[in-house]
Structure formats: C-alpha cells, structure tokens
Symmetry: C2
Subunit: 358 residues, 2 copies
Amino acid sequence: MDTIILTKDDIAEIVNRVGLHQLMDDIINKLRKTFRNFDDELTQVRARDGFSYLTPYPGVLEWMPVMQVDDFAVIKVVSYNPGNPLLYQVPTIISTLSLYNIRTGHLMALTDGTFATALRTGAASAIASEVLANPASEVVGLVGCGAQAVTQLHALSRLFDIKRVLAYDTDKTVLASFSERCRFLDLDIQIVPREELEAEADIICTATSVGLDAGPVIDAVNLKSWVHINAVGSDLPRKIELPLELLKESLVCPDYRAQAVIEGECQQLEPGEIGPELIQLVKNAPEYKAYQMSRTVFDSTGFALEDKAAMQVLLSLAKEVGVGRTLPVESIALDPMDPYSFAREHVGSELTRTATAV
Amino acid sequence: MDTIILTKDDIAEIVNRVGLHQLMDDIINKLRKTFRNFDDELTQVRARDGFSYLTPYPGVLEWMPVMQVDDFAVIKVVSYNPGNPLLYQVPTIISTLSLYNIRTGHLMALTDGTFATALRTGAASAIASEVLANPASEVVGLVGCGAQAVTQLHALSRLFDIKRVLAYDTDKTVLASFSERCRFLDLDIQIVPREELEAEADIICTATSVGLDAGPVIDAVNLKSWVHINAVGSDLPRKIELPLELLKESLVCPDYRAQAVIEGECQQLEPGEIGPELIQLVKNAPEYKAYQMSRTVFDSTGFALEDKAAMQVLLSLAKEVGVGRTLPVESIALDPMDPYSFAREHVGSELTRTATAV
C-alpha cells in the first residue's frame, strides 16, 4: 500500500512538459465537466472547517473534504496567513491535497495544494465568467494584484479575447511587479487609478487581503451596466470586498452557498437575495444568458469539489509525464490482527527478542 | 520548506532500535504528561468528523484535528472499515498523521497513524486503569482479540503486574492466533468461555467489531465488584459494547465527552450519569482513588490529543534514531506573489517561452 507523493519539483516538471496554458485549459475543462456532471447522490461536499486565530494576523488552518461515494475522498488542508509574505517570505496561502481510497481508508496520494488552489480559483472565475459575463468582454480590471490575480487573469485569458488589463493595488510594490509576473500572458497591462478601472472594465476580479470590517474595496458608483465581478478575496467572516448596494442590484452566484453565507460576499445578503450556485450556472448555462448584459457577481470562496478536480488533473498529468514517487507511509502489516507485525516482518525475529529483553 | 516523511520502514527501524516496550512506555509517559498539563486556553481539540457509509460494511473516513495555539496543529485522518481484513487483507483501522506549523500553514511532517493509533489507544486505557482500577489487579480479560487487544494488553502490562490473561472472541480464528501475537509479552494467556472471563477478571478490555445495535458484548451479571472496564470498541453511533445497567452502576469516564456522547458508551447515558473526562482523572488522580475498589468504566473513543502525543513521540524518536526523509511537497515559490515562479525557478526562463508558445 504505497502513497504517491508529488513534490514541488514534480509539479514544476509537469508545468515544464505540458506548458502553463495547457495545464490551465485542463483544469478549466475538468472543472467544467465536474460541475456539469455533479450529482449530490454520488458526491458529498463539506463546507470548510478549521482553526482560526487573530494574532499576530487573522489567519486560519482549514480542512476541506469531499467524497465520491464508494470511490475516493480528497481532503485539502489549506492555511491563510496574510502575514506570511512579510514575516516568512512564503505565500499567504499554503496547502496540500490528500487522496484517500474510501473503501480501505488508504492514503493514495499527497500533492501540493498551493499551486492547485491558485489554478482552480482562476479556473472557477473563468467558468463563472463564461456563463455570466458579456461574451464580448475585452477589458479586465484587477483589484488586488497579488498571487491570485495572476491565475485569475491567466484563466480569463483562456476564455476571453482580452485587449486591455487594468491593474490596481493599494500596495505599490505588489503593483509594480504585476506586469512582470504576467509577462507570459503577453497582454496589455496598465496601472490605473481605481476609479478608471471601475469605469472601464467589462470583468473585474477582486482578490485582496482587505482586513476584517475594512471592506468594501471598490466604490461601484460608476461601473459598466454589464459588468461581471469575480469576488475572490472574501474567505473569512467579516471580510468583504463588494458594497452591499452593488450586491443587491446584481445577480450574486456563490460557488458553494453553505460556505459563502459564512465567509463570502453572501454573508451580507438575506437568503432570498442569493442567486444560484456555480454548479447550477454550469448545468443550465443557456438559462443564464439573459444575465450577460446585466450586473452579475461570482462569490468565490473556494470549495472542495474544485480541489478534487485540480488534484485529479495533476495526478493524471504526473502519470502521463512520468513524475512522482511512491512511499509506504502507512504501517500496514501482513497480519491485520497484529499491529506490531509490520515491524517484525521488517527486522525478522530479532525484534521479539529485543523487545522482551528491554 | 520541506516535509518530513516517516515511512513504514522508518517506523519499523524505530521499533527495532528502541524496542516495543520502551516505545510503549514513551507513549504512556508522553500521554500522561499531555493530560496533566492540558490547558484549554492553549490547546483546541475538535471532536472527530467525517464521511460515513453503510455499504458493503458500515465504515467511516474521519478527520481529528488538534491545535496548540501559536504553535502547531496535528490532523489525524483515520478510517474504520471492518470489511478490510476479509476483503483486502489490510487492517480495519488505517490512518495517517499530519503536523502543520500553525503560523505559516506549512506541512511539517507526515507519518503513519495506524500504528500510532493502536499504541495510543492502548496507552490511554493503561492510564485510565492506573487511576481507576484496583492497583493489585492481576487478571486481565480481553473481549475481542483483534489488533487493538494486542496493544491494550501490552500497555496494561507496562503498569500492572499481570498474572493471567483471559481471552475471548466470537471469531475462533482470531482467538487461535492471539497467544502467538502476544508472545513478546511472555504472559499466561488462556482461552476461556466469556462467563469465566467476566467472573475472574480484575480489568476487562472490550475491543470488538460488534455491529450496530448488536451490542452489548458482555452480560455483566457476575463481574468482580471492583472490576475496571476499558470499553474501546464503540466508535460509531448505535455501536455499543456494555449493558446499560452496568454503566448506570459504574463511574463512567469518557476520554472526550463531546465525542463519547455521540459514538461511545456514553451515548446510552443521560448527561448527569456521565463521570469526569480522562484529563480530569489524570489531573486529579488522588481524588479518584476511592473508586479503585468499585466498578468503573473508561469509555474510550479515541481523540486528537492522544494522536498528537503519539506523533510527537514518533517524530522525536525518528530524530534520535536518524530515520525519515524530507521532501518539498508544497510548491512554494521564492516570490510569494507569483504562483508560477516555483516552476520558473525550476526550469529557468525556458518555461515562459514554452508556455507562451502553446
């Protein structure tokens, strides 16, 4: 019973061999298919749960489980620590993904979840935009230009013909490096005042580390009448990015309602004011075409089903490319009735003597 | 940011070098210390949660998280599939343990949890028995002689001077191999009718795979007046091992009350009928000396604090013995603002060209 482990280098090799664009396309396609085929009799998704703490920064360590009935489960463990870049020079979001055989409980695979989270979060926004945004959208505005903004833009660029990118961030250092970080996309990126971004963008992504009770991060007084907004940043109670008035006049679609009402933009709304979930949008896309010329919001909190899809893509590509290693992590014995037998098998009969001699 | 991974072979090497008895003593001592020093301001323990299913056998895949505030978290993932030995020749319980730095979210270590679970479950019963059982206990009765019975007996043998072991199991094959599996303990093990076991034992451990609504597994009509029972097997709603009348006349102490009322023997009791938790027993052991000559029950459901202690012992011994490997599992980039930079660092500037060429 071995466990497949993909290291950082394995994932880098996948990117190298497959290319970033193909990888993003694979994730978008897998995710769209996952949503389209979703059947709640066959898949159990849990809202994330976790430990939260307030010092020195608000942060969380969370687990996000999903189970395919009679088949497998994926548990993502993900932490959100906005202090990370400054204090430890590591990303705000760090994560791993574990895949379990649901029949035996065996840990089948362990992979990074940080990169997968960034990819699938971008892919989810692209899929929501595909249903809800004006298909002729050419101008993308990014409020918050950190790590998530890179994958938001990357994913959108795979489904829309983007002519201009308008970038805004309260942190000038982050803003200054954004074009370089997105150089591989070969897009026209302009740093603009937020007012200009709001007035010009067909699609806006908010992906900020705004503090608790410190939002919203846009004014929304001069938006296009057809603007579609992917609100990606809110992932904690009391953390919000969009003004209530905007939410009330827009069709607001959460990725996973049970979670969005706790930590997404939906925490600002009454139950009756919340639109269909992303899965419903994808399953019934033609029904929502009518909304493409009005204001819509995708309330993205990130949920386990997306992580499952991303992990499946990574594992499948790892197999294709031939990377990854296997290790016997679980101490599983030949005799299931003897918890010590795995050790005896290993060291032979010497062990018994050593043990009794102690 | 590397992750320490202990494989099955690493754990076997620890057992080989340290010896089973020293290992069990280390776990007992660490667990006793963990309970004694427990401060709920510093440690957050979550009751286990998970996916459950009923076909082809009742089974669960559960996560059990515990956090040391400002320090680290341990998440055990554990499955309970009674069909495993027969269907897949693997143990009923399969598990892994993950250690996270709570500041950054980094996965610091991954180890087996199967062996650790068996060890700490034995250790917890031994510690409860140390407080509640007659200190002169010489006869141990085991109802259910599977994997857990081995570690129950092993742990008890480290704290009590056991003269006779009485073994009972409804499965004759399991029963027949029990003496051989416990040979390293050099104890007088006798296979007896259950009635004899109940009448003779000073300490009884029930560790069965009894079905839902199929318990209890003992009659309890002719027990010693000072018997102490470690009820280890109940770990699902509607799975119980002890008769209600026995519970009502005994001091019943759960390991973790919030969990025991859902899936332990305590699910049979009213709140007022439940005694102190194991942590309280250990913190105030002298207060409970009076119960050593009357009937007591330790309702063991297994909780995350025990797993944390077991993992700490394994990691510390791994360091001492010099086993384990480190792998960079998380795709953490030098530039925390660029989710793709880890791949660029790896493959150099070629990547950008490859990606844009797709």
